[in-house]
Structures are given as C-alpha cells and as structure tokens.
Subunit: 119 residues, 2 copies
C-alpha cells in the first residue's frame, strides 16, 4: 500500500485526452487526465462520471448550459447526460468512475481509448 502523490503522477505524461489509471477501489477507477481544446460530445448510458479539477479551468458544456469548474471544485455528470469537456488552456483533472467507463462514452472515434495505462 503506497500513497499517490498527484503532482508526481502528472509529471509522467503529457498527452491530452488520454486518462491514466492511478487507483482502483470497489469496482471504480481513479484516473488522472490532461485536457486541452475541445473534446467530443458524448454520454455514458450506464455510468455517472466525476471530474475534480486539480489545476486549471475546465468548462463542461451541457446541452443547456456550460459549467466552469476550477481547482478544488468538482462536477458529477449523471449517466445519460450529454456533455463535452472544453479547456481553453491545459487543465489537469481527476476522474472517478466505474472500471467499465469508456472515455468517449457512446461516441466512438479517434479519441476513443480502449486501453488505459496504469501509472
């Protein structure tokens, strides 16, 4: 059993939109990701998704509004809700979601990651 130092893990990768697994518990995964630019609109039919901002500002676009999430703030996007993460500048995010969760949800494209590395 070892603690995870988030800042150290963030130094280990630089690619955007490619979550890394940094913890697992109770069928859930804790992931770290860096976002920059606009992701793809998608939803997760069976999974709620939590975004905790570690550094930077994340804009979560929903169909009816946009929620701006800053450092030490989090948003839970309920299953079935279409959303699109947007980051004008680089943002570091911690994700908390079931092991089954695919990053692009119901939208499969070149951004879809079928395998996530553990770091």
């Amino acid at each position: 059993m070892e603690k995870v130092i988030i800042a150290e893990k963030l130094k280990l990768f630089s690619e955007y939109w490619s979550p890394k697994i940094v913890g697992e518990l109770n069928g859930q995964q804790v992931k770290l990701a860096k976002f920059k630019g606009e992701f793809v609109w998608h939803k997760h039919d069976d999974e709620d998704e939590m975004f905790l901002v570690i550094e930077g500002i994340l804009k979560m676009e929903l169909r009816d509004k946009t929620i701006e999430i800053q450092k030490n703030e989090f948003l839970i996007v309920p299953r079935g809700t279409e959303h699109r993460p947007v980051a004008d500048e680089e943002v570091a995010v911690m994700l908390f979601e079931p092991t089954s969760t695919l990053n692009t949800g119901n939208t499969k494209n070149e951004l879809t990651k079928h395998h996530l590395d553990k770091i």
Copy 2:
C-alpha cells in the same frame, strides 16, 4: 447539476470525525470530513476506502507502518486492512467509498455515525 466547491462545503461544518456527503455516483459516495486527534482502529470487511487530503497532514497508521499523506495526495486502504487515521493538527479529507461504508467499520463505538448529513 451543480458543481461542488470544496472550500465552500468545508465552511459548513466544524465537527471532527463526522463525514458529510457531498456527492453520490455509481453507488459510491463522496464525503468531506475534518479529522483531529486519534481515531479508532478499525477495518472495513467489504469496502476499499480512499482518503484524499485537501488541507493538512493525515497520518494513516497501519499495523506495520504509518503513511503520512499531505495535501493533494491520496491513499487507498484495501478492504480488510486495519487502519487508524491520526491528525496532529486539523486535516480536511475527501473520502470516496461505497454507500454502505460505516465510518468505524467493524468497530462500533461512540464515534460511529449511522447517519451522515448531506451538505
């Protein structure tokens, strides 16, 4: 759907060892708690437990070692592992764990919280 500002939630309570529910997803709860002093030795037979330190320093005593967890670091304590959180000074912690998790695990005493408030 609203974001959660952790600092704002932490202003809403002052008691120690009394986690508050600030989010729910996928059968899991996100909780905030303040610790100070020594908790009770306990384990959770069926739940892994994640401690993410928001402010301060948390010492997690295990039977064979003690792990010091600082701000922006986290520890996952696997089910079945005896542990005792200790905080020399006040520490604010975010917990991720299944809805079924009792704060004192298999040890029931005056610190046991059978009902947690949502804030």
